[in-house]
Amino acid sequence: MLTNHKKEKVFTTMVRFMTIVVLFILVFIIYFILKESLMIFQQVSLKDFIFGREWRPLSVNPRFGLFPIIIGTLSLTSGALIWALPFSIGTAIFISQVCPEQWRRGLRSLTDLMAGVPSVIYGFLGVVVLLPAIESIFGQSSGDSLMAGIIVLGVMIMPFMISIIAESMESVVRPYIGVSKSLGVSKWYMIRRLVLPGAWKGIFAGVVLGTSRAMGETMAVMMVVGNSALIPETLLDRIKPITSLIALEIGSAPVNSVHYHGIFGAGFVLLMVLLLINFAFYRIRRKISGEGSM
């Protein structure tokens, strides 16, 4: 028989080990991508790689310029956030504050279900429903566009944002709900003065999660944005985000060719952009909430 103390020790060692494994996987991913992409920077300078205007890996005169592709990813992600965020906040307010108690659970499971729909299904609906709609509304020859990507992606990140925001709104209000009710404060006053300011951390977390999800989404986006490596000037232009580039090209690039390393380089840039954005969010958060306080 193990004593309780011993059991505790075994347990502690186990969870510590698991954490180390998980951390290690992360380190390994970054290490591997960095290792595989270093080669491209011997051929192309980092500046040309990031600011070059043309991605022609297999041309007679190969060029590795990611700029239109990075712009594609950034415009797609910010576009999706811009329309998904207000909807997410609104829905979260409704779920956590407005709707009758007995609906809450059902609505929450519905949004969770939305998060579980495979991305290829969203993409498929995008191709069949959204693209023809854009073609007829805007008189385009083809509906593949930044706009189609933004719409599909916005729908896809919403459930995650709703879930996080609604949760934080519920926890913000809980301590005050009795007092507010007994004071006869109106629901809308409470939402404006208590819920929204109190839940900003949740909203912020929602934005962070939404951004990461949006930047990494591949399949659904690839099906509706046209994958043309151009810098978008209007919402109806086609784009090629980094994830599409990787998914479309990695299968056919001979291993250890310049093209192969170029694709890993693109993956590395995506990872760095994501880390930078997350870091920026973290700094902003610290600034707003004052030093240290969580």
Partner: protein, 296 residues
């Protein structure tokens, strides 16, 4: 102190995994009943269908050839593109690679003794929707005409012919690295690049669906897929050569790609018997059913 232990554990793990990462690979010497193929997603469905028929007919390997073990026939077919096929052979993770293009020199050089067998041909047809004006206007395109359209030199249908509407030409292509695009690039575009405005579609069936759904689009469709939608599409002849079966097999029709199986060194018995089966009447029938042209 725990921190120190934690850090040293991380390094230890890193070291172990690096060792493991370097060590794997060449362990295909003794056969355990599972034959592995990797490569082109164009070829994979055909090969797995043939593999099913093969396993059903024989059951265990010793039924095919006495020298083989009495193991159940198991043939795994993985996809990842033609290049992944060549890579899998180099890494030793597959016995046979499937490639929907000719191997590149660097791929052949990397192997000790490159071997290939051509099991069929896939042709690309330049096609438009039945409703498209160009299809009604003519049946033939020259390489030069196709190149002008795909390089972006002509971006409106009215620039191709005065009788056509002043609408954007929607160009549909597969990903630039794919086997299908490689053939198109070599045969039609040569040194020129396809314009960046072209829409890259992730799969051939997706490309043909788009073609059927969009009057203003032009693209290349695989022979097999185009056959399935014969009534919805108009396929052009190239430089006066029709994309007919005879012309494709004889090699006169320019836009075609070989379907190859590749391996390194001497084929083992289990590989040889399966390749023989693919080349048999039964195998060739399946290849034709899947929309490709089997070799004679």
């Amino acid at each position: 102190m725990y921190r120190k232990i934690g850090i040293s554990m991380i390094f230890l793990l890193l070291f172990v995994v690096l060792l493991v990462g370097c060590g794997d690979g060449n362990e295909t010497s003794d056969f355990d009943g599972e034959l592995k193929l990797t490569g082109s997603s164009t070829l994979a469905p055909t090969i797995s269908t043939i593999a099913d028929a093969f396993a059903e007919e024989y059951g265990t390997w010793d039924q095919v050839d006495e020298s083989l073990p009495e193991e159940e026939i198991s043939i795994s077919v993985a996809t990842g593109g033609s290049s992944a096929g060549a890579k899998a052979i180099l890494d030793g993770t597959a016995h046979i690679g499937m490639m929907a293009r000719n191997a590149k020199d660097e791929e052949m050089d990397a192997m000790e003794n490159y071997q290939e067998v051509k099991i069929g041909i896939d042709a690309l047809l330049m096609a438009v929707n039945q409703e498209n004006g160009l299809g009604k206007l003519k049946q033939d395109l020259t390489k030069e005409e196709v190149r002008r359209i795909f390089s972006g030199e002509q971006s409106l249908w009215s620039e191709v012919s005065g009788d056509l509407p002043e609408e954007e030409i929607v160009l549909l292509v597969r990903d630039v690295g794919g086997g299908a695009h490689g053939v198109f690039q070599d045969v039609i575009m040569e040194d020129e690049d396809v314009t960046e405005k072209a829409i890259e579609v992730p799969s051939m069936s997706g490309l043909v669906e788009r073609l059927i759904g969009n009057e203003g689009a032009i693209g290349y469709a695989s022979f097999g897929v185009a056959e399935q939608y014969r009534d919805d599409l108009v396929a052009f002849s190239i430089d006066g050569i029709e994309p007919s079966e005879e012309n494709i097999i004889s090699g006169d029709y320019p836009l075609s790609r070989p379907l190859n199986l590749v391996w390194d060194g001497e084929a083992s018995t289990e590989m040889q018997v399966f390749i023989d089966y693919i080349e048999s009447e039964a195998g060739r029938e399946i290849i034709a059913e899947m929309g490709f042209l089997p070799m004679e």
